[in-house]
């Protein structure tokens, strides 16, 4: 199958926005407010942390907050401590710092950053590591989540898949993103 026809092509997967599991958006936003917008989205790789952060960013921007996002991964390493702290100190109560991949920040920098961001409107992070900030949502890769995502893709019939979402997710060690990429490969070979 050609890439442009593959139902699991990246552009389509990017359009799969976060949908809360077992709760509602108002309850998430109330909890975030109760945490003074200082909270962590915690979970393993490929379980929707960044997707949830994107969705939160949209809601916070719509409420008039200014967002400042730092994305840290293998190809975008954490900036030096003075840069992160300098950024935090230049912001104010209408600013929210979003850090995707916060577990890559060293513990020393994190200690300074937590202090430097106290007068900000918020600090929301995604991380694999517990204990950095109070948890807002803990994401998990479940067969139900994978099934729900597949159901939202047009032109995909669950019975056409090479294996059940549960088996697929088991193969991918709970990483939903990897499971969707595996399904791309399956269709590419057709």
């Amino acid at each position: 199958m050609k890439a442009k026809d593959n139902p699991f092509r990246a552009e389509r997967l990017h359009k799969l926005t976060y949908q809360p599991v077992d709760e509602t958006w108002p309850s998430i936003m109330r909890r975030l407010s109760a945490l003074h917008h200082r909270a962590a989205i915690i979970g393993p790789h490929g379980t929707g942390k960044s997707t949830l952060l994107d969705a939160l960013a949209q809601r916070l921007a719509a409420s008039g907050m200014n967002l400042h996002r730092l994305f840290i991964n293998d190809t975008s390493p954490a900036p030096p401590m003075r840069v992160i702290i300098g950024m935090a100190r230049s912001l104010g109560p209408r600013d929210v710092m979003l850090i995707d991949g916060a577990e890559r920040i060293t513990r020393r920098t994190w200690a300074y950053l937590k202090h430097a961001t106290h007068r900000l409107g918020g600090l929301i992070i995604t991380t694999h590591r517990r204990g950095m900030l109070p948890p807002l949502v803990t994401t998990r890769g479940t067969p139900a989540l994978l099934h729900a995502l597949i159901d939202r893709l047009p032109d995909v019939q669950a019975h056409e898949l090479p294996m059940s979402p549960a088996m697929l997710l088991d193969q991918c060690r709970g990483n939903v993103r990897d499971a969707l990429r595996q399904l791309y490969d399956h269709y590419a070979a057709i």
Binding site: K4, Y184, A188
Partner: protein, 122 residues
Amino acid sequence: MNELTITLDHPDAAFTPGGRIAGKVEWRLAAAPDAMELRLVWYTEGKGTQDAEIVQTMRYDHPIAADSHTFELTAPVGPHSFSGTLISLLWALELVTDSEDHATRQPIVIAPAGKEIELHSA
């Protein structure tokens, strides 16, 4: 009801590099936009990160809410439209309001002989 349409003179929407891409754009919007843009773009689709580029733009400033214009563009010499199992490169014309609240896309092919190049796995 907001309607935007792009109608090509060549209904097969296939063009050769350097060839003439002509047609008509029309819009019928609830309110007059500040501007409309017709964009010639290419973008990739597939397994990896998407790339995209706006190659040419025709701008219609201060248009009325319902209007139409003919257009004529020259198909760039490259990149050519192609498709494999991992990546496809696609061309399109896009008609968008300057606020990008409303848009429509007309896929086209730009390649030698007006035929998308097919990549085959080794």
